[in-house]
Symmetry: C2
Subunit: 769 residues, 2 copies
């Protein structure tokens, strides 16, 4: 009935002009009448009891309208996954920077002055920063013994000492298998915390009215998550909390837990006025839930013919003072298995509390570190086996019908081998080795968290009586253009131009529930919802047109925004005419909800439990040059060959992949939160060393399309995969260039130089720790 033509085309984003001209409103631009400005008071201690907070001088300061401390906050603990964090410190601080109080004043400067007037008396407690030390029997406890916290997946959990989570995965008999191996390679890897690096810091405006209804403007990608947590925290019906998500200036996993939102609500309740709370860059770096540091011990054995046979690995994730999503990281230890068939495996993941700042989700949470380890290992094994690293990977690569690394699901529509062969072909043609110049390969997997529970996401498609179409979606757009892709899908299903579709209001009061962007799932989940809603609207149009034209629905076709009788283009109506007709005959506009279609997808997913449909594999290749005098690594070329399932908007997909590689390069080469006794030493983008345009090479992209049977038009997720193997590709390229193995990232000049010096001292493989 419909010719699909719009998907698969690179259409400009519908919101591009307003973003690049600077007219888009971000949360910091929101200023309701009577808004107060808030400032946080941050803990100066890593671990201490709060003996006394004296707010009297601040309250006496002219222009100050209210102060809140932990005593004003409900006992409710905040967290998107694990609820273990008070809104404001209650009785105790657990990291340097933890908010202990907040001030609201008529002016930003006054708020800052008043924050300085708040006196906090602490009694220091012993603190622990090293996760291995924290696991020791006599380590200071970050959370009191007996603390019980609610975890979204596990229910009530109780940390054992500082061990938040401990997950072991085992299959086959690794101990026996290692004895059968011809070659075994073992090493230890380290990674450090990195910030999400979004340009817009955390920001919120909260307004609580006289009826306790809360309106929140939040730079948060999950408006319904915010709504649910805030309504729970303040014991309100969900419908009494309205979350308006403005444009988001980057998220990368960091904007999912509404702790800042809760503080703003507290202040608004206290003052009866709207309150704006925007973090400074310094505060944002200190307070953000950055990527976990990790220590990885990995041992892999293979047979002479190049068959991987046994693996044992342990990864310790440092969760900082509040774990939230960090507990889940322990489960990601299975990523140590990489993209390969290994029959005998044991992995252990540990998530450990320390007195560092909170750790949380960063683009592809939990995946880059273990991938850095296994893909470095793969190259070392290939070298020891004297095999071509391409061949070694192809020999062991996961394929159609294999189990996923967890061993839980059979994978379907697997594109790993295609990404390797296409990448090899490209690299052989285009990349060059040379003196101090090498090529490094790395593969990786991102398994969608696909399943009925992850698919709770609705969309409405309403047809206005001028034929324009409004899409209602609760998807937060973190800057990647997700909403534009959804509009493209709707336009495609209704056979109209993309600019005929507008995005309706996206707040929680106007759209159906949506799980929130994350896990590279937006296009997969919300794209399906938008598509189904458009299909439903289209069905209604066909039904009405068939009745009006007195023909069967099968006799009709839709083209260029018009439904007409097949073969008689004159006999028909435009969508606008049908929308007007719907108003006249039904009294209400056409609204597509896609309930039926969605239900069918959920049923088919339920029926295919144990099958992972369309994992997102990729192969990345770096060509680097290492300056032997300084250790400086320069990335000359970079290839990202990704199985994207189907590229609905190829230029958007390319943008996501390129952006992801840049993110991965920062993680590989320069970025690191430096601390001393829990105090962040480099809380500015300059010192933290985010990559700039000047640092980034041309990033070449190959989109391989092995369609998923469940994603819209076959699409798979593309947001997180490009971040995952980058560090390993760089490390392998450095090894290829100068023969030293770097096992700690970022791979900065200092580390490379040290390795080069050690190597000249006679050590073949430098192993820093």
């Amino acid at each position: 009935m419909v010719t699909e033509t719009l998907v698969g085309k690179s259409i400009p984003r519908i919101d591009a002009a307003e973003i690049v001209t600077g007219s888009t409103s971000y949360t910091a631009d929101i200023l309701p009448r009577g808004t107060l400005f808030a400032k946080l008071v941050l803990s100066t201690r890593a671990h201490a009891l709060i003996k006394r907070i004296d707010t009297s001088k601040a309250l006496a300061h002219p222009g100050v309208m209210g102060v809140v401390t932990g005593e004003d906050a409900p006992k409710y603990l905040v967290g998107r996954f694990l609820k273990d964090r008070p809104m404001l410190a209650q009785g105790k601080v657990r990291f340097v920077g933890e908010p202990v109080a907040a001030v609201a004043a008529v002016d930003k400067d006054i708020a800052e002055q008043a924050a300085d007037l708040i006196e906090v008396e602490y009694e220091d407690l012993p603190a622990v920063f090293d996760p291995e030390e924290a696991m020791g029997p006599n380590a200071p406890l970050v959370h009191l013994a007996g603390s019980r916290y609610l975890d979204g997946a596990q229910g009530w959990v109780e940390p054992k000492g500082n061990i938040r989570n401990d997950v072991i995965m085992r299959r086959g008999d690794p101990d026996k298998a290692f004895a059968e191996c011809d070659i075994i390679y073992e090493d230890t890897y380290r990674t450090h915390p990195t910030h999400q690096g979004y340009i817009e810091p955390h920001a919120v405006v909260a307004s609580v009215d006289s009826e306790s209804r809360i309106t929140l403007w939040a730079s948060n990608k999950g408006q319904f998550i915010v709504r649910n947590i805030v309504s729970e925290a303040f014991d309100l019906p969900k419908s009494q909390v309205k979350v308006i998500v403005t444009k988001i200036g980057g998220d990368f996993g960091g904007k999912g837990t509404p702790w800042l939102e809760c503080i703003a609500v507290l202040l608004s309740k206290k003052t009866g006025r709207p309150v704006k709370l925007v973090l400074s860059r310094r505060e944002d770096i200190i307070l953000a839930s950055v990527r976990h540091a990790s220590i990885i011990r990995l041992k892999v054995g293979a047979k002479k013919d190049g068959t991987l046979h046994a693996l044992k690995g342990e990864i310790i994730f440092e969760c900082g003072s509040y774990a939230d999503g960090g507990g889940g990281m322990a489960g990601r230890a299975s990523t140590l298995v990489g993209s390969y068939k290994i029959p005998n495996v044991e992995t252990r993941g540990l998530a450990i509390y320390t007195n560092s700042g909170p750790r949380g989700h960063v683009r592809a949470p939990g995946a880059p570190a273990p991938t850095f380890a296994i893909e470095s290992h793969i190259d070392m094994l290939a070298k020891k086996l004297e095999m071509d690293p391409w061949e070694f990977r192809l020999k062991n690569a996961l394929g159609e019908g294999d189990y996923d690394p967890d061993g839980h699901s059979i994978m379907r529509n697997v594109g790993l081998i295609e990404t390797i062969t296409k990448a090899r072909e490209y690299v052989h043609r285009e990349f060059r080795r040379g003196p101090n110049r090498g090529i490094g390969i790395a593969c990786s997997l991102w398994g969608h968290a696909v399943g009925p529970s992850a698919m709770i996401s609705g969309a409405y498609v309403r047809i206005e009586d001028d034929g324009r179409v409004v899409l209602y979606t609760g998807v937060g757009d973190q800057g990647a253009g997700q909403r534009a892709v959804l509009a493209q899908i709707v336009a495609n299903e209704l056979h109209i131009q993309p600019n005929q579709v507008v995005i309706g209001p996206t707040d929680t009061a106007s759209t159906p529930f949506e799980n929130g962007s994350g896990g590279s799932m937006t296009t997969f989940r919300a794209g399906n919802s938008a598509r189904f809603a458009a299909m439903d609207a289209r069905t209604q149009l066909f039904e009405m047109a068939a009745e009006r034209l007195e023909v069967g629905q099968d006799d009709l076709e839709l083209a260029n925004g018009r439904i007409h009788v097949k073969g008689s283009p004159d006999r028909g109506y435009t969508i606008a005419e049908m929308a007007r007709h719907a108003l006249d005959t039904r009294g209400v506009p056409i609204l597509g909800t896609g309930v039926k279609e969605k239900q069918e997808l959920l049923k088919s997913m339920e029926a295919s439990k144990g099958i992972m449909d369309g994992p997102a594999f990729c192969t990345q290749v770096a060509e680097v040059e290492v300056d032997p005098e300084t250790g400086q690594v320069t990335v000359l070329r970079f290839l990202a060959a990704h199985d994207v399932g189907f590229a609905i908007n190829p230029s958007s997909v390319e943008g996501q992949l390129q952006g992801g590689v840049v993110f991965g390069l920062g993680y590989s080469l320069t970025e690191q939160i430096m601390t001393s006794e829990g105090r962040v030493l480099n809380p500015s983008l300059l010192d933290y060393r985010l990559l700039t345009a000047k640092d980034v090479p041309n990033i070449e992209v190959l989109c391989i399309e092995v369609p998923s049977s469940q994603g819209p038009y076959g699409a798979k997720g593309v947001a997180e995969p490009p971040v995952i193997p980058t560090a390993a590709a760089i490390a392998n390229a450095v090894f290829d260039a100068v023969g030293v193995r770097i096992t700690e990232i970022p791979i900065n000049a200092e580390r490379v130089m040290e390795a080069l010096q050690k190597s000249q001292d006679g050590t073949e493989v430098a192993c820093l720790s």
Copy 2:
């Protein structure tokens, strides 16, 4: 399946607390970031050519960000019914006060100063203010000969001279019939313009963004009408205009045409900033589309036995300079027939342009003036026939199956006789006559504009996963509590407490199209829509529950927010549980739209064309005392006996009826826009003389319930009917008290005194004109 229990109960309004505590936001409270303040420049001439507008001094004034004149405006003419009014005067002004320019500045005072700096050079034209003069052959033309305007009902129309509309209705043979009458009474009546008297003046905030998308906060009861007119005026898709209706501080017909909105949009386009335009009280009285002045000539004949036999009447409505809804007034001349069976009738209605300010809709537009005439006549005829006025009315009263006064429709579910007999019973028991103290009766009819085209109105009912219910309705609430009644209906259908229902966003982007409040139709139209949407949601709940409980839907019942198996209260689920189940199994929340139910109502309406179901009749009785020394009329008691069909919320209905009578009393006794050569002499509420609480007697209400078969639960409209017969009841009571007939309203002391003096001079019936 469901026990209906909540309708028919007096439940407090869900928004009462925030209104009475002053925390509600009205349009003037809206202040987007960067808002500019606007001021209008008003014409000082009644009719003149604009030779030149010099804005240079205003533009040079510091803080002024932009000025617009008619030259900046599109040629589009504004009007809700007839489009005959430029946004800003173009080439010519037609009344004293017509906006010729507007200034936007960073501050209200600066805007006012700058408005004073704008120089307008006029060339005066002859003007006309008296509608009868305006009908003369040599009268100055308010609109140039050949002007063609678009009328919503009539299509393109062209005024004939100053005659905008001329409607004649005839049945039987009145000329012959008068010859058959035993008694004939003839008189002339006059009414003057009155303001709607809302407390909140016209206000708007307009914000046009860089993509030409318009956001409007408007104190306007018809957000979709505003959206459609603004999008038409500025040539934009409807979806690019978002109208947010804040709380409205009274409307009474005056807030339906978005001319002020258009001026604010012009200024926002010009300046690139949000613009707020709030009229002062003086401006609002001068610029509002007030009630038409009228001149009525009426002749009615009856037979000796009291049978009304013939009627001839003419009413001239003065439309002012811009007619908008005024053209339609001519059709209301048939209201001269009143509530009675009269076989031989001829009425003529004329709508005439003059150089007075614009005239428009005021609560029960076009009905109070002719009712004042016919009901005064009825009492005079009764007196001449020496019949009891109750009996005379009962003898001629319209009843079940009679044609409406227009002669177009057969009326069903007619409650007139019940209102007369119940009122008589009450008055005989409670009211007292005495020296200078009399009782006056008047009846009236308000026929709903019911029909499929008036029923375009949608509602959505969404069930949140905590069991709370959100109603999406596009109904603007002008202060009468319409939305609260809709919530009550939804709660009733879902058998939950009213506070479990919240009203969702009400802007045009979030709700389905709705025709806008008006014509006492809100509860009728939108109440049906809300009910149907709730029924649809309920059906979905039953379907899901039946499947889950493995029983038939008929085996289930809904009570106290829970669906359970009949006879087994333990076997069931709460609405919250079912809502959660819907998310899990369908991926999207339950959304009731009521499309099917609405379609059935529209079909049944279409099938019953020619039938007016449930006209709203009433009988009002005044007990007054007249001070013979001063002519001052004091209303001692007042009874309003109304057929309301069914009172969904009796205390709301009572409030509407009492408020309506107060409105009618102001119209009867004190209110009048005084002018001299088109210049308003009393542009303040003090001089205009709105009634105060002190002036108002206890108003007793009798709700008679003759259910409509189409309204929700049988409800009929109650907003406009109470305004209609009040003036006649007062005039009849004055006559009863002191024997003088007042034929011009307001019936102030001056007019009564003059009549008393004339009566002492020997005239039995004083007839001022």
